[in-house]
Amino acid sequence: MAGKTITVAIMDAPYESANSTTALRIVQSALSKGHSVNVFAYEGAVNLTMKAQAPHPNPVKGTSVEQEAHPTTKDWVASLFKMAKEKGLKLDWVNCGLCVDERGAGDWVEGPRRGGPKDFFDASNASAATLVIPTK
């Protein structure tokens, strides 16, 4: 049943909630099954794509930056964009503009675009399914 489009709304900032990981897993699964995906990143989720995220060493484990290979969500998102492109699918990632402004999160990796609630509404209307993943 490939070839559909789903819309996912997310709110959690990176490194704060298991929700972010699960949301990206859902995007990964949808793409791997041949579906296109719209993501509406609301509130703290706009921080997921910030270019300035950087990996770091781990002094508790005694690992260097290279050894620790600390993930950054911006790299995971960039990789999902690459996956979508290679599969000829669409990953449309909208960062809610006002949320971006208040968080200073406007410098993001290639791929996402600025938007707002209307984009979420339009995306939802054009999708086979919409899933809202709230924050607590």
Binding site: Y42, E43, S124, T130, V132, P134, K136
Partner: protein, 127 residues
């Protein structure tokens, strides 16, 4: 057009810095965009329907909060705009909210009525 139900349960999360509840704000924006959208306030969010909420007076050093959130007014405005705002009766009662405490124009629903309300909507977004 799809009938959307926004279920709001978390209350007062970042509402000072945001100057609103961000899900109620989103609801208002979606309504303005033409959505057929209703709101169910449950759990602590039933308190959003309480009259007389006052978040004014905060000061941080020299920075004064001059435009605090007025969530009760936001809810009232949405009711005026034709958004159906449902409140779970038991959740309100458990929080000591009587009829006199609540805004007018709300639609009251019992907990056991939530599945039917959900069935009546095409999209259910649980925030």
């Amino acid at each position: 057009m799809a009938k959307i139900l926004n279920i709001v349960e978390t209350a007062y999360r970042g509402t000072i810095e945001e100057q609103d509840d961000t899900v109620l704000w989103l609801t208002h924006m979606l309504k303005n965009a033409g959505a057929d959208i209703s709101v169910l306030l449950r759990a602590n969010a039933v308190n959003y329907a309480c009259k007389g909420q006052d978040a004014s007076g905060l000061v941080f050093g020299e920075a004064k909060m001059t435009h605090p959130p007025e969530i009760d007014k936001d809810v009232a405005k949405m009711i005026e705009k034709g958004v159906s705002i449902y409140v779970v009766e038991e959740d309100a009662r458990e929080r000591g909210l009587g009829d006199d405490d609540l805004l007018s124009g709300l639609r009251r629903i019992k907990r056991q009525g939530i599945p039917q309300l959900i069935d009546e909507h095409d999209q259910v977004w649980h925030w």
